[in-house]
Amino acid sequence: MFLNQLSKKIAFACLGLAGMASIVSCSSDDDGTPSEETIRIPAEGMDYAVSVAIQGSEGDFTYYTFPADNLMEGTLTAEGQGIEQPGYYDFTQIDQTIYSIGGLDDNNVVGISKNSEEYLVQTGDVSYQNSLSDMVKADNNTLVSVTMDAASDIITFRTFNSNSLTALSSKEVEVAQLTEVTDAGLSYSGMAVSGTHLFLSYYKSNPDTYATAYTDQAEVAVFSYPELEFQKVITDDRVGPIGGFNIKDGLTKDNQGNIYAVSHSNPANGYSQSAKPAGILKINNGETEFDEDYYFDIEEVSEGYNVLHLHYLNNGKMFAEVNVQDRTAQETWSDGPLRSVILDLNSQTLNYINGIPQHSNGGRRLPLIQEGNNVYFTVSGENGIYIYRANTQTYEAVQGAKIEANFTAGLFKI
């Protein structure tokens, strides 16, 4: 009798458990990470790609890279489209590939390119604990990256196969080889490879206070390439340090392999004090010293201001931004107010582009596309971010498409 009751109870209970189990849905094996193959963004007939950053209200950032066919009309948005990358990224285009460098608690190097089927696809999956300060083209198959930080005792170079995006080698150089200073570290400001040499520019800052106590000369370190052996530091006291905080444009290479080095010592770009005028120096192709005969006196052509955010176009012309405030009046870390200009490095002239409001940039790479005599770039204003098209001969600009983003991280031709 008792047993009978017990078995009834058990049967009832099992029924209950079975009922529960039936509402339990099957768990999927998918771990939620979209694989490389699943990321295929249709880009048929699209000549451009835009990388935008959307800021969350909690200060978080997510980046989206999406194709576009018209930069001059309508609104360019990543809504429902584009390759998503959460974290903090920096975008640079080398030949036909866009490289995104960065991540969330990680530093990935990912290549984005249009494949033969006209889809935007992603390649590569190398990553590091320390962020890469920059990555440049070394030769047709090789990229070289540098990692440096004012608080670190080493500078790390890495080389990559530019097609497969696999890391090939790594080289550590002691900071002590470059400088004897101990109360400041070296902060990255620019890198270029020309022929058999790699040039690395930097400024000295205190890793605790970010104060820049050493501003009385320009310094560029010279390494052999491809060995990446340290050779020497070249200096020039006509200007102060090359480049500034988080802009990466200290050194710019032209089509002949000459390298231009810019100095501004701006409080708006990380300098706590300055000692020298602003100007551009030159290292001629094949040489490893500053050209003593070349000096582009920027203050003279810009009414005492200085330039930064350089982008080499062609025929000795460069796109740049002028900070239109005296150093003494600049707000620290503001990277503004800026006006866009075209520089001629040969005739040493500077021409303001008309039709663009004053703006600030935010210490980021300058998104820019060149098409013949036109350059496309973005300017952030009160009503949002717009693309502007400027003519490099007439210096006139017109406003184009609106970009739905909190800032533009890249503008590319694909």
Partner: protein
């Protein structure tokens, strides 16, 4: 010194005035008496209720009870207690009568743990407060290997994200609020700065009597500036007991807990607990193995975590007197605790660490005083004070190497770079004094007032042994918080109860900051900020019929900024003395339905709707290397949660709960110091990386006298469910290419055998027995299948 506003002074004068001038007039009757067992033991916690009415009480430590405010006339007194047979008695009361009666209860050995649903246990009394509160008894978990975290995780609206195994970081979220927005208490003492060893995941269940979770509306007696609710953990309050347990399990996990109390007849008492936790947390995870160059060598390899050991030891001893003429309770105590915690990874699992460790040590002297009917009948006073001294160390001193997920070191060649950045050894010395004074006055059966004053004084000093010159380490912070609350409770009748309350918040923050450190203008200036805010709310509950109670509550509440948010850290966080508190309007509407049939079926249905509208949320605005906190953010939460519990006799139990919460970003603008105010493109979008639909179900079977007399065998099954959610904002990016945290399910099984009338207990638990992949935010992997065995010895006097 604190300056009270006019409003607050009026509140206090009003309160004291009415206190002195009013006399408690009582024409109602009362019942008083004592309950003991057949063996003569005094029984504590016995439910004394009036059948079919809404009146009841429980007996105290001495077995005594008083049931007041009874209308004259006929009543049926019901006496029920766990493990004893229930009794009923009919009485007839005359106005003003104090009816004295003693009960002797007969043991019912087979009915251990049975919950008499008609009686009102302490838990149900808490749940029936007008506040939106969920109270969970830890008792049913005593034989399981759970901890406070697992109990809380089964409450609708609560979601605890834990980064990994035992001791790892926890993110508690209540209806979408988390971090500083939800406040934690240990027996009413704020736990904000108790140190990491007082982690929800490390407090063993056996030290806990129950946990009260206040959703959105926080009663004044907790005296705090919570934006989205509060959690009060109540430790064992019995006067004579011993409970010792030890559990061993997967990942080399060992947990020991001894809890006890001794009380002499003269009222002298000693009570306390010691808890030890240890785990290697070497559970397996699926990761990529990278070479020295950063290339992936092997994909999706299963490896064991190798640097995740957690150890903690906590002791809490209290001594003093109970039931004396000068105090119902006067206890002096000290909490001593420490832990050390290896950290295996950062916010994501991209890279493992091999040398990062955090350590904390705390010494917390406490004082508790409680007296009912002090000076006047109906005037109750209680005081809770704690001085909390905590030292926390963050150690990142291993330089020159990185690790891969095999635990192999890879050379980096640097003598300055550790795993998190520049090598550092940061020590934070915190000193905090908190005190809470509560007083209440009962005018008559309809009106009562309660006044709370709470004071918090927090001081922090940072020091980095390896980088002593970092500016943020040079300037200590001090923060003083005063909160004054007044509440008025109106019980219109026995069905309808309403509480109105107001809270004044006063904040005073001091710090110093250095200017122009790199030139001759170098100077140190001190900063001070004073703020005052006034919050208010109402909570009401109504019994539509005895089985169905509805509750509604509202609070306009504030979360005061922290010292760092207001005054910066002297370095990369700038001060913003104009920063306002975060504020929120919190609405709750809920119901509880209880129904029993034929003394066999018992059914409980609970539902709650929430609406939260939070503004002035503090937002981090970054400029270069510096950031400033500004009031910018807005969020809205709309949610529904429900639970159903069914039991058939004592044999079968089934419980299901489900939570849906739609938390959306409502900020119009975002701020970027380069571009200024910009459109917030995610306005109206659901907050990412946060679960929005989740639930759990539990089923249990109980068999009596299996093998041994006076024994019980319990079999429990638990099912957990979290719907897939997005890693980042939903609106942008290609749908197929978006990262998600996939849907997760897990199943736990538990078998508990108790014998010797509950004295000896053995529990065997298998968590996640189907070995499903489980994740936290940012796709951190959680343990797979794990086994735990627990032994427990318990005597209750």
């Amino acid at each position: 010194m604190l300056k009270f506003s006019k409003n607050s002074l009026i509140i206090i004068v009003l309160f004291l005035g009415t206190l002195i001038t009013t006399q408690a007039q009582n024409k109602l009757a009362s019942i008083a008496g004592k309950v003991n067992s057949e063996k003569g033991e005094l029984l504590e916690g016995v439910n004394i209720t009036l059948k079919g009415e809404f009146l009841g009480t429980t007996s105290n430590e001495k077995g005594k009870f008083v049931l007041q405010k009874i209308k004259p006339g006929k009543h049926t007194v019901q006496i029920s207690f766990l493990g004893f047979e229930s009794q009923e008695l009919e009485i007839n009361l005359v106005p003003g009568e104090r009816f004295e009666i003693n009960f002797q209860l007969k043991e019912a050995p087979y009915r251990i743990n049975e919950v008499q649903l008609s009686g009102k246990s302490a838990i149900r009394q808490i749940n029936e407060q007008a506040y939106a509160v969920t109270s969970v008894s830890a008792q049913e978990f005593y034989n399981s290997t759970s901890d406070a975290k697992q109990i809380l995780d089964r409450i609708p609206g609560v979601r605890i994200l834990q980064e990994g195994g035992l001791g790892s970081n926890l993110d508690f979220s209540l209806n979408g609020f988390s971090g500083d927005q939800v406040k934690f208490f240990l027996n009413g003492i704020p736990m904000d700065n108790f140190g990491s060893s007082f982690n929800l995941g490390s407090i063993p269940v056996n030290s806990i009597e129950r946990i009260d979770v206040y959703k959105g509306v926080v009663p004044v007696w907790l005296g705090t500036d919570a934006l989205g609710g509060a959690v009060n953990i109540i430790t064992n309050q019995k006067n004579d007991f011993l409970d010792a347990s030890y559990s061993i399990g997967s990942f080399n996990t060992h947990r020991a807990s001894v809890n006890g109390a001794y009380t002499h007849e003269n009222g002298f008492t000693v009570r306390g607990n010691i808890n030890y936790n240890y785990s290697d947390n070497d559970y397996s995870v699926f990761v990529d193995i990278k070479d020295e160059l950063g290339n992936i060598e092997e994909e999706d390899v299963e490896v064991n975590r190798f640097h995740d050991r957690y150890r903690s030891l906590t002791a809490n001893v209290e001594t003093g007197w109970i039931d004396k003429s000068f105090a119902d309770q006067l206890l002096f105590g000290v909490i001593a605790s420490g832990d050390d915690n290896q950290r295996q990874n950062g916010a994501t699992m991209a890279h493992p660490y091999g040398g990062v460790v955090t350590e904390s040590r705390s010494i917390i002297p406490t004082l508790k005083y409680k007296k009912q009917n002090l000076f006047w009948e109906g005037f109750d006073v209680s005081l809770n004070s704690a001085l909390n001294l905590t030292e926390t160390k963050n150690i990142d001193t291993l330089t020159g190497v990185r690790f891969n997920w095999y635990g192999q070191p890879l050379e980096t060649g640097s003598q300055t770079d550790a795993e998190l950045g520049t090598a550092s050894l940061v020590t934070m010395d915190d000193r905090e004094f908190t005190t809470q004074l509560n007083s209440g006055y009962l005018f008559n059966d309809q009106h009562s007032l309660a006044l709370n004053y709470s004071y918090q004084n927090f001081h922090r000093n940072n020091n980095d042994e390896l980088n002593p010159d970092k500016p943020e380490n040079k300037f200590p912070n001090t923060l003083k918080k005063n909160i004054l609350g007044l509440s008025y409770k109106l019980d219109v009748n026995q069905k309808w109860s309403t509480t109105l309350f107001g809270k004044s918040y006063f904040l005073n923050v001091e710090t110093s900051k250095e200017y122009d450190s790199d030139n001759q203008n170098r100077r140190i200036a001190s900063f001070e900020s004073n703020q005052e805010n006034f919050g208010y709310g109402v909570a009401t509950s109504y019994f539509i019929f005895p089985q169905l109670q509805v509750k509604a509550s509202f609070e306009h509440t504030y979360r005061l900024p922290t010292a760092t948010e207001l005054l910066g850290n002297g370095f990369d966080i700038n001060s913003n003395v104009n920063l306002q508190p975060e504020e929120s309007d919190n609405y709750n509407l809920g119901f509880i339905y209880n129904q029993d049939w034929q003394e066999k079926h018992s059914f409980k249905f609970e539902g709650n709707f929430i609406y939260r509208n939070a503004e002035n949320l503090i937002y981090n605005s970054v400029q270069g290397i510096t950031s400033t906190k500004i009031n910018l953010d807005k969020a809205r939460a709309l949610g529904a949660e429900g639970s159903i519990n069914y039991s058939w006799k004592e044999f079968f139990q089934l419980g299901i709960n489900m939570t849906y919460q739609d938390i959306t970003d409502q900020a119009d603008k975002i701020y970027d110091s380069y571009s200024g105010y910009q459109e917030n493109f995610n306005k109206g979008e659901r907050i990412p990386n946060t679960p929005y639909l989740f639930g759990a179900a539990k089923a249990g079977l109980r068999f009596k006298n299996v093998g041994l007399e006076n024994s019980l065998l319990n079999l429990n099954y638990t099912y957990n469910y979290v719907e897939e959610f997005y890693f980042s904002w939903q609106r942008f990016g290609n749908r197929d290419g978006k990262s998600v945290i996939p849907q997760q399910t897990s199943h736990d099984l538990e078998l508990v055998y108790s014998f010797g009338s509950g004295k000896y207990n053995i529990g065997l638990e298998c968590r996640n027995f189907t070995d499903n992949l489980l994740y936290d935010k940012f796709r951190l992997q959680k343990p797979g299948r794990a086994f735990f065995l627990k032994f427990r010895y318990s005597i209750n006097h």
